[in-house]
Symmetry: C2
Subunit: 332 residues, 2 copies
């Protein structure tokens, strides 16, 4: 070990000790949470896994926490943000596709006929995703996403989507990160749709974002090597795909997992099945006034089996109405 490395390690220890002390003693790390059971469960969990000498102590390398995105970190009603993006993109590139005037689900999008879009079923949705998400380089796609997010607004809150994020969950991310956790997004959404803004909005860098993906291909075009996005599904990071994705990307089992729907059930089950201390948490959308109220019968973010299992197994269930002082930073 060279001196620079030794220096870093020594200072690193000082850093962790100093920050833990500051975090615990001087301020409430979760000010937007009410003093109810979920907040207590989170703080008790973090204290025990970070207290040296505790039987539940977990070294920093093992402090892996995974977060679903849609409905767990940001709004997923009245439709997934990525679906709104795909529909906006259909309208944007429609002039180059005259055939879409008669072809579903594109015709439905252009006519504003959501029933026709829904009637095209899963096949129609996949076709729309491929038509709007493939055919460009990965860097071109990043720019398309960033440009859209710069101007698009949520239809209920009239704010940029990247402000429609749950302030209590942002505080939770920061709290975990300050306590040596590595926080990952594990979402059914497209990995390349989330990466361009995850660091700015959540403090989660691109390499800690796991999601669904389409295939890409290395090509040299006019002497310039690039990665082109192909209209072919590579991986669906949802339901039983979430533990698969976590293992593929991280190679470690999380000790804490956060979700809000049946698509997160297997991630929570797999997290729970590891040995040692564990925290499994579901966000339950119970606030029709400040956000939305939905669960067992929702088209987006259906929470049914996972709610039953959480209740049966004693996982933490957050009622947004009862457990959160505020939902968005813009709601004071």
């Amino acid at each position: 070990m060279n001196n620079a490395r030794k220096c870093c390690l020594t200072l690193g220890i000082v850093l962790v000790v100093a920050c833990t002390a500051t975090g615990n003693a001087q301020s409430d790390p979760l000010p937007s949470w009410n003093e109810t059971a979920p907040k207590q469960a989170i703080i008790a969990f973090v204290r025990k896994v970070t207290t040296l000498g505790s039987p539940d102590f977990v070294p920093v390398a093992g402090r892996i926490a995974t977060f679903d995105n849609d409905g767990t970190l940001w709004v997923e009603q009245p439709m997934y943000v990525q679906l709104a993006f795909a529909m906006a993109r259909v309208k944007q590139v429609a002039p180059q596709h005259p055939e879409w005037k008669t072809q579903q689900p594109f015709k439905g999008v252009l006519d504003g006929d959501m029933k026709a879009v829904a009637a095209s079923g899963e096949h129609g949705l996949v076709e729309m995703m491929m038509a709007t998400h493939a055919g460009m380089s990965v860097e071109q796609f990043q720019k398309i996403v960033s440009d859209w997010l710069d101007t698009a607004t949520d239809p209920k809150f009239h704010k940029p989507y990247t402000e429609c994020i749950y302030q209590p969950m942002v505080e939770l991310l920061t709290y975990l990160q300050s306590n040596g956790f590595k926080t990952f997004i594990v979402s059914g959404g497209g990995v390349e749709f989330m990466r361009p803004w995850g660091e700015k909005v959540y403090g989660i860098p691109p390499e800690q974002v796991i999601g669904s993906s389409i295939k890409t291909k290395f090509e040299v075009i006019n002497g310039k090597p690039d990665l082109m996005r192909l209209p072919e599904i590579n991986f669906i990071d949802d339901g039983p795909g979430k533990p698969v994705g976590i293992n593929q990307y991280i190679g470690l089992r999380p000790i804490a997992a956060f979700g809000n729907s049946d698509g997160d059930l297997q991630m929570l089950e797999w997290t729970a099945a590891g040995s040692g201390p564990r925290l499994m948490l579901l966000v339950h959308h119970t606030d029709g006034i400040r956000e939305y109220a939905y669960d067992r019968h929702s088209s987006f973010g259906k929470l049914d089996k996972a709610l039953d299992e959480a209740n049966a197994k004693g996982w933490t269930v957050v009622s947004m109405k009862d457990d959160w002082k505020r939902i968005f930073a813009f709601q004071q």
Copy 2:
């Protein structure tokens, strides 16, 4: 931003400044490198991307460096270590497979007949990999790998494989890590073969290892959720697959890439094609005494097109014989 976060950030800045100063002023970060062009190129590159105010300065978030493993970080002759593992595993589980006594490539492995193994071609090798790498949980496989590495030794150096790593490259990894780089392994080898020991041996945690993989499936067996390894290829992280894998796992283009064979060519090309400062480096095996000498005609780690391209484009080529003072830590 809460106080704990502010504290971390402030101390983090102190840490980086302190470590950079220590690393530069007090010690040679690359003591096993001769004072030849490659060492100078590495140090000049690191200085310019880490010097605040330099036109080539790169913020920490963009300091991504990718390393091939076989032949770049550890020995790949007389065969890939993972192939030696697969053959050892064939012998270990052969009692449960009486049919292998007459079936190639298994018969060849059991008889020590490498010609028969080679004659089974790519199809035979894939069959052997699937038979030895699938059918267990991911955690069982980690244990199988770790147990084998605890006792197996390299046939030429008679040391554990995890000691047959190139000391100059280990110093390079540490040097980059000390300067705020995030270092990744990007290998054609199996991701789950490398993860169990990457942190201990190279200081690279599991989530920073990218490699080839087979598919896994989430299953609940006797009430216990687990990930089972299936005999089906998921991803080949070699050649044009390397930039694809880097984009899939990291989502950022590296600014420095290190390889030793034609399988690394596209990773280096893609790295080189980004804007801003870049370092592309090839390890050339030129030392038949202290290690091995091979390039254009080798079965493992063939270096032909990439060597031509490196010479044509002025990438850094390390001659192990001329540029490294020592190759292994055990060679003083």
